[in-house]
Subunit: 334 residues, 6 copies
C-alpha cells in the first residue's frame, strides 16, 4: 500500500509541524565548531525543494538513507535567510514502492503508450529507407524506449514533467508535418526524423528517477552533444547509411537551438534545420506560457512577471479558455 | 507597343556601350569647379541600381524627366570607386505605358486575384462579428485592396516584389490556421485577423510605383505605427466595436516583430501574439532563404555568405528540389 | 473628516499589530485543500505594497470591497518567504472621500495649475499655425487636461507621482527652449510641440486612481503607440493640417526613446527628434537620480547600488545641496 | 607665394593625369621580386587620402621627402582593388610655407581668438577659488593654449577640423551653463570646469600638423587618461588644492563618455558628471549630424545611410534651413 | 591581550543572543515618527556584514564609536525582510589593539615578506635600466611597500583578503616569466614590469583598514587611472626616462582589463599588453574558482551556481585534490 | 620536374597578361542570354583567390579539369565590380606532381616530424593509464597521424597553413605543462590530454588538399562535435575506459571555446577546462597577431586595422624583434 503525501513543500509555512515523506535530494555531513557532526539536507517533492538541518542522532540518520531515497521525516519548519528550513527530529527510509511516484514528480496528463504509438505511426509513413532504419533502430532499443517514454523535456521552463519529452516530441512531429505540407521543397522525411531525434540526448542529460536534475554528463556535454553521439551509435549499426545523410541528420540536432548563444555549435544551414528550430521554439514557448499561466491565481487578467521572457502575459478570459482546449498540445482531434 | 529591355544593370560591365530604358531613381544637379552644371543620377531596373553622370546638355536633360520617370538612356559604362558608373550622352523620357513594368519591378509568380479570393474565403469562416466587420471594412475599401494586391512585403530580404505582401499574408494565414488547429485554446478568429492585418501598414511604408523604396512616412513612423492607425481608422467606422478587442487586435500588430530590438514597442503578451510572431518569422525566413538560394549559380552546394543571417546555406540537391516544389509558398494543393 | 494613516507599509515589521487604511490593490479567492475558501490580497499605500491573507469570514469580506477600494484593515504582520505578510482579521470598505489621497499616492510638490499655466504660456509663443492649433485642441479638451494634470510620468524610476507627467513635460519644454536657442537651424515650434506631446499617451498607459499601475491598453500598446493615436485623433479635427507636418510630429513621439531597444519603433531622424530624445533623457535621469538620492539616509556620501543604472552615486554634501535647490526641476527663478 | 591646390583627392578619377601638391602621409620602401626597390606611398589633402606607388627613380624620391612633408607630385591615376591609386612619375618636397594649410586640413569657420576670449570670460565668472586657479593655470600655459586653439576635437565624426576642439568646448560650456541654471542643486563651478577640461587630452591624443591622426600616446593611453594626467600636473602647481575636489574634477574627465563600453573606466556618479556626459553627447551628435547632412547633394530629402548612427536622416527643407542658422553651434546671438 | 571572536556573522541565526566584537562599518542616526532618534548600523567581521538597529540609549552609543571602529555589542538576532538583523541593546568601543585583526579581515595564508622578497628577486633580473629604476623607485618607497604588502587584490571575487594583491602580483610575475620564455619576441623586461605594476592603483582604490571597501577615489577614478598617475609620479623622479617607454608601461596598466567593457579605456595593442591581460585573467579566474569551490560543502561534486561566471563548477574529487595542492598559487617548488 | 609559379594572385593587376598555374577552386557552367554556355571559375594559389570567366571553347575546358585540380591558364586580367577578374583564353589540367605544393598552400616553417616526436615525447610522461591508452590509440592510427601532421589549424586568422594544427597543438601542450606546474591541484594528465585532442576535429572540419576550406561536415557539425565523435570512437576501442573520465575528456573538447557564443555548447566547468580554454586563447591570439604584423610593410610602427580584434597593433621595433625570436612559437630552447 502506498502512502499519500499530506503536505507539499510549496505549502509549508514557518512554525508548522511536518510529518511526511520526501525525496532526500542532498545529504551532507558537516561539523559544528564544538566538533560535533550535524546533517544539512535538501528535501524534495513535486512542488519544489526545501533545505533541512538535523542536529541530533545524525550518525544513525545519515546511515539510514542515501541521496535519491524516499524518507519519512518529522520536523518543524523555521526560517533561515528568508527561506523555509526544516529542523528535522527524525528521518527514516521508505521503500520506493511504498510511495506514490506522482507525489514526487509531476507527470504528463496524457497516455505515454498512446503518444508513442501515434509517434511511431507517423514515422512509419517515411519513405527514405535509411531514415526509417535509423528510427527503427531507436524504436527497437527497449532501454531507450523506456527512457524516452519517461523522460521530461527540461528541468524547468517547458514540459518539465515525466513524459514531457515524448509529449513535446510528438507535438513537434505533428506540427512539423503540417508545415512541411505547407511549404513545397521541404524534405519531409528528413524534417520529421530531426523532429523525433532532436532532443533524444535529454534521456541522458537529465536525471528523473525521484526528482528532475541534470546528470554529470548532461552538465559537461549538453544534450546536443550527447544526442549526436547516440545517433552516431545507431547509425553504426545500419549498413550503408550514407555519410552525407548522417551529417544532415546530426546537423538537425546540432543546430536546433538556432544560435550559438543558446548552445548550438552551428546555426541551421538547411531549410529543414531552420524549420526544425522554429517548430521547437513554438512548441517549447507555447507550453512554457501555458504552464506559467496555469500557476496564476484564477481570475487574474495578467500573470506575474516572467523573468526569462521578460514580460507579463495577458489572460483575457482564463476560465472560458480552459474549457476551449480540452485536448492539450497536439490534440487536433485524433 | 511596349519596349523590352535589352540589358539589365546587374549584367552591365565596364567599357560597355548602353542604350536602354531605366527608371530615373534619383536626379541631382551639381556644379563643377569651373561653375558649369552636371547631373548625377541613379538609374534602376529590376536587377538593381547604378550611378550615372551626365556632363553635356544637362539643362535640357534635367528638364526632360523627373525622379520616378522612365528614361531612354545612351551612354558608356565606366568604373568609379569600384562600382560601375554610366557616363550618359543622352537621356529622354519614355511614357510609362510604353515599357514593360515587369522589367523594372520583380513581381510575384502567383495570381493576385486568386490569392485575394483565397484569403477572403478564409476570413469568411471567422465567427466573431466584430472581427468579421473589421476585415470586411478593409475588403470593401477599393483603394486599400488595390494597394494591398500590388504592394511588396519588403524593400529587400523577403517577398521583395510586387504582390509580395499579399503572397506573404496569404501564406501566413493558411499556416496560422493549421497551427491554431494544432494547439487548443487559441482564439482562431483573433489570430487570423492578426495574420491578415499585421503588415497592412506596408502599403504606406513602401513606395513601389517604379521601384521599391521607403516612403517618408514609412521611414518616420514604421509600418507598425502606420498599421495601428489604419486599423483604428477602420474600427472607428464600426458600431460597438469593443475597446478591449480593439486593443487586442492592435497588440497583434504592435508586437509582431517579437522584440523591441526589431521595432515592436511591446513584445507579444498573448498566446495569439506569440504565435503570430512565430508564423511571421517562419514565413519571412523561408521566403528569404529561397530567394537567396535562387540567386546562386546552379550546381553549387553552398550559397555565398548571407550577411544578415550570418551563415552559408547548404543546397544538397538544388535541381531536384526545384521540381519538387512547383506550387510555391502556401501551395498545398488547394 | 478624512482619516490619517498611522503606519505605512514600508515601516511595518513582522509581529506588529496593524489597524489602518490601505488600498485593496488585488483580491483573489482561493480554496484550501479542505475545500474552504480563503482570500489572498495585496494591500497598498504610498510607501509600497504588501501581501495579505484572510482565513475567516472571507465571503463577507470579499463582498465588502473590490479592487481599487480603500479598506480599513485589522491584522497581524508575519513573514512568508522572506517578505512581510499580513494575516487579516477584519476588512471593511472606507469611502474615498474619507481618506487623505496623499497617503496613498505620492504627489508633486509643485502647483499643477501654475505649471499648466506656465506650459500654456510657452506654447502661446509658437508661430506655426498648424502646431498652435494642434496644441490648442489638446488644451481645450477638458477631459485630457484633467488627466494630464494628474497623471504620473512613470510607474517607477522618475516622476512617479501624481502631477509628475506635467512636471516632467514643463521641465522638458523649458529646457528644450534653451537648447533650441543655443543651436541655430532648429525648428523651435516643432521641437516644443514634441516636448509637450511626447508622453501624452501616458494618461492612458498608466492607471493612477488609487495606486500607479499600467492599464491593459498601456501594457498591450505602450504610451508611444497610444500617443500617436491621440495626436492623430486631434489632427483629424483640424482643417488642412499638412500630412508631412503630421508625420513629423508623430515621428517625435515615435522616436523619443532614442533606440528600438527602449521601445521606439524608429530612431530619431531629424535634428528636432534627436534633441527631444536627449532632453527627455536628461530630465528623466536627473529626476531619477534625485529621487534615488532622496531615499538615502542623511549623511551618507554614497547611495546604495542603483540596479538599473548599475552604479552607486556620490553625494558630496547632501545637506548643503538640499538648501541650494529649493525650487525643484525647471525652477529657474521664473 | 603659396601655391593653391588644383585638384582634390576626393575628385580624382581613374585615368586622370595629376600634377599637384599633397601631404606625404606614409612612405615605405618595398622590393619587387626582381630585387629592385619601389615606393608605396599614401598621399593626403583635406578631402581624404589616396594610395600611390612609384616605380622609377625611387632612391632619389625617397630621400627627397619624409612622412609629414608636403610634396609636388606628377602622376597618373589608376585603380587597384577598387580604389584609386596614383602611379607617381616624379615627387619633390615643397616647403610648408609655400602651401595654403587650409588645402590640407579643414578648419573651423569661426574665429579662434574670439572663441577663446568668450570661453575665458565665462570661466572668469566662477566662484570656487581652487577651480579658478586650475583653469588659470591652463590659460597661462602658452604652449597649451596654442595647441588648444588649433586642435581638432576628433579624427572624424564630429568637429574633425582645426579649431574644432575649442569650438566644441565653447559650445558645451555655454550649453552646460544654461542647464546648470535650469536645474537647482547643480554645482555650476564644477560642471563648467569639467566642460572646459573634459577633452584637453585631445591636444596630445591627436596629431594635426598636416593631417589629423592619432599620436602613439593617444592610441596607447586615450585622451581620457592623458587628460587626467594633464590636470594632475596643473593641480600639483596649485597650493592647497583639496584632494577631494581634485578627485571630483578628474572624475568628470574619467566618466564623460558615459559608459565603460565607450572608454570611460567609470560611469558618471555625480549629478555634474551625468550632465557633462549628456551635454557632450548632445553637442557631438548635433555637430556630427550637421557635418553629415552638409556632405549630401543639395535638394535630397534624406541623407545616405550613417553607418555609426545606423540610420538615414531627414532634411525637410535643406536650403531654407541653411539660411536660418548662420552663426553655427553656440551662436546664440552673442 | 586581544579578545577572540566567539561567533561570526555568517553563523548567526534568528533568535540568537549575541555578545561579541564587530567592526562598525556604517552608522546612521534616523528619527522615528514620534521624533525620537534611533541608530541604524552595519556590523562586520571577516565572514560578512549584518544590519543592526538600536532603539535605546542611542545618543551615548552614537558618540561612543565611529565608522571603522571596533565595537563590543550585546543584542538579539531577528529577521527583517529576509535577512538577519541584530537589535542592539548596548554598544561600546574596543581599542584596535585589543582585537585579533584576522577575525575581521581574511588574510593570505602565505608569508608577505617572503613573497615580496621573491618578487624583488625577479625584478632584479631585468636588464632595461629605466624599468629597473622605475621598479626600484617603488621598492624604495616605504609607504608604498607597506600598503602593497597589506592590500587585497579586490573587494570580492578573487584574492579578496589582506596580502591578496601581493600574492596575485607574484603569481602573475612568475607565470608571465614562463610565458615570455615560451614565446620568442616578447620583451620580458616590459612584460614583467607591467605584471608588477598593473594593479598598484589598488592600494588607493581599496580601503582595507578594518574591512575591505572602495575608497571615494577608487569609485570615482578606478585603480587603472590611479595606477597610471602613480607610475607617472615615479617616472618624474627618474632622469631621462624615455617618453615612449613611459607610454608603453602606462599602456600595460591602461589595457590590462582587455576590453573597454571591463574598464580599460584602450584594449591591449602590443604583444606584451595582450599577454599581460591573459595572465591576469588566468590568475584571477583560477583564484576565484578555488575560493568559490572552497566555500562548498565537503563531498559535493558540483558547486552552487556562480552568478558572475554563470555556471556550476565540477569538483571530481575534492578531498584528493586538496592534498595534491599544498603550496597554493605559484607554489611551484620554490 | 615541377613547374614554379611566376606570378601570384595577390600581385596581379588589371590589364596584365597571365600565363601560370592555379588551383581550380570552383567551376560553374552558366548560360548567356543568347543561350550559349560560359564558365565562371575561381582560381587560387597560396596568396589568395581570384574570379575568372571563360567565354570560348568552354565545353572542352570544362571537361579538362575538375574542382581541386591544378590548371595551366592563359588569360588577361580585368576588373569587375572592384576586383581583379581574369578573362581566360585557355585552360588545361596539370598533374599534381608537376607543381610545387608550397606555391598553393602556405606551410609551417617548422619540421612536422620533429614537432610530432616532441609532442609524443610529452604524452609519454603521462601517468593515467586510460589517458595514455587514448592518446596511443590516436598515435597508432596512421591515417589520423598523416592528417594531423598536414592539417592547418584554421581557414584564416591563426595557424592557417599546412602543419598549423600540429604547431598550434604542440605549442599549447608545452605551455599548458608550464601552467599546470605553476598552479597546484591541476590534473596534468587530463589537461595535457585535452591540449592534444582539443582540435583533432579540424582534420575533418577543414579540407586542405590544394586550398584550405571548410568541408561539408565541418560546416554542418563544427570541429567540436566532430572531435567528440573521434574521441568517442577511440575510447570504444579501449577496455575499461571509465565513463566519468570519458565525459571529462569530451568536456575539454566541448568547452574549449570558452563561451556558447563562440561555439562551445557548454562553458568550461573544471579547472582543467578553464585552463585549456585560456591556453588556447593565448596561443591562437599570439599567432594571429604575429601573422597579422608580418603582413605589414617593414618600418611601420602601427599595423592596419584588425577587423576581428577591432584595433591597430603597435610594433615598436619590428626589425629588432624579428631577430630576437628565431625559433617561433614554443621554441623555448628545446
Amino acid at each position: 500500500m502506498t502512502q499519500g503525501k499530506k503536505r507539499f513543500i510549496a505549502d509549508i509555512a514557518a512554525n508548522e509541524t511536518v510529518a511526511d515523506i520526501f525525496v532526500l535530494a542532498e545529504k551532507n555531513m558537516a561539523r559544528k565548531r564544538d566538533g560535533n557532526p550535524f546533517l544539512t539536507l535538501v528535501l524534495g517533492d513535486k512542488s519544489g525543494r526545501m533545505r533541512a538541518v538535523m542536529w541530533d542522532d545524525v550518525q544513525r540518520a545519515a546511515a539510514a538513507a542515501g541521496e535519491g531515497d524516499f524518507v519519512q521525516v518529522q520536523g518543524t519548519a523555521g526560517e533561515y535567510r528568508g527561506s523555509v528550513q526544516l529542523v528535522v527530529q527524525s528521518l527514516a527510509a521508505v521503500p520506493a514502492d511504498a510511495v506514490n511516484p506522482a507525489d514526487f514528480l509531476p507527470t504528463t496528463r496524457r497516455d505515454a503508450d498512446q503518444m508513442l504509438a501515434r509517434l511511431q505511426a507517423v514515422t512509419e509513413t517515411l519513405h527514405n529507407p535509411h531514415l526509417k532504419a535509423l528510427l527503427a533502430a531507436f524504436w527497437s532499443d527497449d532501454t531507450f524506449v523506456a527512457q524516452f517514454k519517461k523522460a521530461p523535456a527540461a528541468k524547468q521552463m517547458h514540459h518539465a514533467y515525466l513524459g514531457g519529452l515524448l509529449e513535446h516530441t510528438l507535438s513537434m512531429v505533428l506540427l512539423a508535418d503540417k508545415i512541411a505540407a505547407h511549404y513545397g521543397g521541404v524534405d519531409r522525411d528528413l524534417l520529421l526524423t530531426g523532429a523525433v531525434l532532436h532532443d533524444v540526448g535529454k534521456v541522458r542529460e537529465l536525471a528523473y528517477a525521484h526528482f528532475i536534475d541534470y546528470t554529470d554528463e548532461g552538465r559537461l556535454l549538453s544534450h546536443i552533444v550527447i544526442g549526436v553521439q547516440m545517433v552516431a551509435d545507431k547509425i553504426r549499426t545500419i549498413a550503408d547509411f550514407p555519410d552525407s545523410l548522417a551529417a544532415m541528420v546530426k546537423h538537425l540536432i546540432v543546430s536546433h537551438h538556432g544560435v550559438r548563444d543558446f548552445g548550438s555549435p552551428e546555426p541551421p544551414k538547411t531549410i529543414e534545420a531552420v524549420l526544425l528550430h522554429q517548430v521547437d521554439e513554438i512548441d517549447a514557448r507555447i507550453n512554457a506560457i501555458r504552464e506559467f499561466v496555469a500557476t496564476e491565481t484564477a481570475g487574474a487578467t495578467w500573470t506575474g512577471y516572467h523573468r526569462l521572457m521578460e514580460r507579463h502575459f495577458y489572460i483575457p478570459d482564463a476560465a472560458g479558455r480552459e474549457t476551449a482546449a480540452p485536448e492539450g498540445d497536439g490534440g487536433d482531434g485524433e
